[in-house]
Symmetry: C2
Subunit: 336 residues, 2 copies
Amino acid sequence: MKKKFKVGLLGATGIVGKTFLRVLHERDFPVSSLFLFASSRSAGQTADFGGEKIIISELTHENVMCGMDVAFFAVDGDLSREYAPVLAKNGCLVVDNSSAWRTDPEVPLVVPEVNGEEAFKHKNIIANPNCSTAQAVVALNPLHLAYGIKRIVYSTYQSVSGATIKGMEDLERTLAGEPHKFFPYPIAGNCIPHIDTFGSDGYTGEETKMIFETKKIMRAPQLKITATTVRVPVFVGHSESINVEFEKPFDIDELKKVLANAPGVTVTDDPSANLYPTPLAAAGSDDVYVGRIRRDASVESGVNLWVVSDNLRKGAATNAVQIAELVLGVNAGSKN
Amino acid sequence: MKKKFKVGLLGATGIVGKTFLRVLHERDFPVSSLFLFASSRSAGQTADFGGEKIIISELTHENVMCGMDVAFFAVDGDLSREYAPVLAKNGCLVVDNSSAWRTDPEVPLVVPEVNGEEAFKHKNIIANPNCSTAQAVVALNPLHLAYGIKRIVYSTYQSVSGATIKGMEDLERTLAGEPHKFFPYPIAGNCIPHIDTFGSDGYTGEETKMIFETKKIMRAPQLKITATTVRVPVFVGHSESINVEFEKPFDIDELKKVLANAPGVTVTDDPSANLYPTPLAAAGSDDVYVGRIRRDASVESGVNLWVVSDNLRKGAATNAVQIAELVLGVNAGSKN
């Protein structure tokens, strides 16, 4: 008989939390019982899990002591720092979606297609990467293995859902002509080159995360990386213009084959038929879409890529569930 | 007495044509008489020029023979190829906004702040650059003169007005939930990495133009350049994430001063006060806005810039009027 798990979800009412519920159901994750937690505001309400109504409990230290085997964290960094060590100590595997643990050398930061082995070094906490980084490394790692990446220049086009439901509401609000309340400027009809807070070097937290996390996940501290991250008026789906310089020469058709054969990647690249990835098309799917694959003649061995994925799925819930499947030895029954 | 000119505008009813009328009036261009031309559909209608109603004539070979001193072309490449040589032969200075003449070695391609001297080599036709290129070189040329640019990586975030009124209507249409008719995919809530037609090398016409035109305007054929150009759901204002590698070392504060002192550039760069350029803020203004100025530590001497400008103005009408002012010896009375 297939082993089943007592599964918890902290932050069940946010958009990432709701995506977790959909992904767990779609992938047929072996759940014996499901515990949902949110703030006192949502406690007592129900959430939908494959047609079943599950009551949401208030997130308290008492309530989480319910013997969970695995807990998915879709809460902010402060709550993660508060609850993850407690649950981990209690034998629960925590897969955390916040940035709280990603830089901790004791905590694996995992994208299963890239560094799944690292997940098994966990001490009951595994960090899920930043959404922009997760999709990028799925596309970049196979190329790194084949040609040795020297340098990466990231420019991102990130959807408002990466900024929680408040970001989505601010896009709706400003599209309706109402004043903005959440982003520093109206996001409708605009591009805002500011995600997370600014550091003293002029880089945003999002840019710093992409640079650090790419190196950690690809286990390539020597990589040269820079990034500019930008919020665009898209509801779901992050896009990335990625310029890559390799150590070794490559054949462009062979490179496309490397990508086409890479786990988690779908190559959508036929300019003659107007085929390339877009966030609107990628939303709702678990894959990382790669297109506009072209040699960059401005360096000896370089390529330009356009990488798109659903930031709530591969950038958050899907990747976290894949991590748990890997560590718990679950054969994913993904319907996607 | 100040010399005045018989001025023509071919393509008076498009969004670039309308912007020409506003810019000519705002800058107090010395017009003795103004001749407006459009297709037979619009002939007989009037257009507003500083409160004055000007009747629009049909664009025909007979009608354009009205003794114009200077003609601004806001028509497509085919019409430009048809009419520019005729008017030029007749002694009229043509400033053309299409891509028809930009690659012609006999035709200067001019951004006055960058290569104004070239304009005087004209044989009555001067080409106005592609909108994305014009704003980029205003920001890049002063840095090239100071530090010697080796390589540029462009990623653009281009507004729908760059694709004529049809692009703006398609954004309005898709924002209203109606099916798209103009872009290959719905542009509302989306990013489309496809501007102009695809070449056999996988690059779009827009990307190829940015690479070629940057070199021609900056008179730097040795520059290494690559580009990814993307349409975003913004009505007016193009944004660009530009990664630059220099020959020489630089001090970041000095580099910011070079930009602040450069003609046509406004530096908007104070992260601590959430100050950086956005297309919504730049729309309606003639300047090129530069912000997010940060050292790129992934190369020996590199910088990241975020460059934003009104694509209908500096990217089209304003730059063309500035070219005419320069060549005709007009002292611009810009109110902007």
